[in-house]
């Protein structure tokens, strides 16, 4: 059994035992989305026009809320020291933790998104691109967010600071994620945007674990 699968299995098990945490994130996603009709009015055409963007922005915020605790608990109870001393590549441990985070928060968000899209009157052509875009975009969100979460370990206001650091870095994902939905709704192909999202994910997957590992090492120094 490798370090990767050991850490992944443990994090999944912990998330399962504390499944209320994941549910809270999904609930936040739902309530934040539901606020928009109250803000812009319930007219179906306006809601349909902004549905893709609203779902993406609220999904980003929901993921961000949960990212705050990816490393915090391990940092505070001393597990992080032991993981760094596991004798294996820390990037691999990071990747396992990020995948566990994505499986326990990103995936529930993707599953929830079509339900919320209904309330926003998203046109039928938009559903598949929305979910595909989230599928390709949320791993990037988890990867980049993990780097931010590692950087703010031990700060006084970790959560707020994390938003300030990470949200600007999410703009490319938001642009192409929303554009994919918009393209499909207006009768164009969402393919190119989805490919860009995939490219961003590959880039994030190759660079972010490395930066996160560096941030974790300096956090326990």
């Amino acid at each position: 059994m490798s370090v990767f699968s050991t850490v992944l299995a443990r994090d999944l098990r912990l998330a399962l035992r504390q499944s209320a945490d994941s549910l809270t994130v999904v609930a936040f996603f739902a309530i934040a989305t539901v606020l928009f009709p109250f803000g812009v009015g319930p007219e179906a055409n306006i809601l349909a026009r902004i549905a893709g963007g609203v779902l993406w922005v609220t999904a980003l915020l929901a993921a961000l809320l949960s990212l705050d605790r990816v490393f915090t608990v391990d940092f505070e109870d001393g597990t992080l020291d032991q993981l760094i001393l596991s004798g294996e590549s820390l990037s691999l441990v990071v990747l396992a933790k990020v995948i566990a985070h994505w499986l326990t928060t990103g995936v529930p968000l993707i599953i929830m998104s079509p339900v919320l899209a209904v309330t926003l009157h998203l046109p039928a052509e938009g559903y598949a691109p929305l979910m595909l875009a989230l599928l390709l975009g949320t791993p990037t969100v988890s990867l980049v967010g993990a780097t931010g979460a590692a950087l703010v370990l031990g700060t006084r206001r970790g959560g707020v600071l994390l938003s300030l650091l990470v949200l600007p870095l999410y703009i490319p994902v938001l642009i192409f994620g929303t554009a994919a939905v918009e393209a499909a709704v207006t009768g164009r192909s969402a393919g190119p945007m989805l490919m860009v999202l995939g490219g961003l994910m590959v880039l994030a997957a190759s660079l972010s674990p490395w930066a996160t590992a560096a941030a974790l090492r300096q956090a326990v120094e």
């Binding site: 059994m1 490798s2 850490v7 299995a9 505070e76 001393g78 597990t79 001393l85 294996e88």
Partner: protein, 250 residues
């Protein structure tokens, strides 16, 4: 109980299993390691020079007890020995070869810090199984059972760790030492929160480890559980004059 252990082994088919080529287990029941030593070590924390010119040496089967007043840098020295904290000068050697690969060095040590690294949502069994899987790549009930017995935790094995008292959690942290062998043990105040029976158990663990050729470095005020170890007064290496922010200056 055995089903508890089996379920710890991840069975995710999609997950690629990266396997380390590194051989981390020591052969047989003894360690074949050499001496662990440090020369001219200095460490700076928050701009302050904690200690400088520090040297130490531990032979196989040996023990080193770190002493010194609070703030003299015992914990810092242990973290430096573990490779978590880099030294600002000096170097450490393992069996004569410089310690420069942090991961390779980490694989031959176990570090019990003042934080117990216990997951409250997992049972004692699951906690130990996780560490065993992480360090040795496999989970064996008998080994975990032996570790729990060494610290008298076996009756509690199926309890979630959140129900444990501070002393019991610390015993669980110490039980980690038994699930996967490593030649060097770094222990930061291991006697804290322990009752007499557990102190005796700890003393026996340390004695057994040394008898197999293992090494122990302990930061402690009372050393009842280390017999015949050498003592290192970390406080003696504190800089006497106020240290300015750069030695090159002036």
């Amino acid at each position: 109980m055995s089903c508890e252990i089996n379920s710890t082994a991840p069975t995710l088919p999609l997950v690629a299993r990266f396997r380390s080529a590194m051989v981390r287990r020591m052969s047989g029941d003894g360690f074949t390691s050499g001496r662990f030593s440090g020369e001219g070590l200095a460490c700076r924390r928050g701009g302050r020079l904690v200690f400088a010119g520090l040297h130490f040496s531990v032979a196989p089967g040996g023990a080193l007890v770190l002493r010194g007043p609070n703030g003299s840098g015992k914990t810092t020295l242990l973290r430096l020995m573990s490779g978590l904290t880099p030294s600002s000068s000096g170097h450490m050697a393992w069996d004569g070869t410089p310690v420069d690969d942090r991961d390779a060095h980490a694989a031959r040590l176990r570090f019990v810090t003042h934080l117990d690294a216990v997951k409250p949502a997992l049972t004692i069994m699951e906690n130990l199984a996780f560490w065993m899987a992480l360090w040795s790549g496999k989970v064996e009930d008998t080994v975990i059972l032996k570790a729990m017995e060494a610290l008298d935790l076996q009756r509690l094995s199926a309890f979630p760790a959140r129900l444990l008292s501070a002393g019991q959690r610390h015993r669980l942290a110490l039980a980690r030492l038994m699930v996967a062998p490593a030649p060097l043990w770094l222990l930061d105040e291991p006697g804290n929160a322990l009752d007499d029976a557990s102190l005796t158990a700890l003393a026996k663990m340390i004695a057994d480890h040394r008898a197999r050729g293992g090494m122990v470095v302990v930061a402690s005020h009372g050393s009842a559980f280390v017999e015949g170890g050498m003592t290192l007064d970390v406080g003696a290496f504190s800089p006497k004059t106020p240290a300015h922010w750069s030695e090159e200056e002036e």
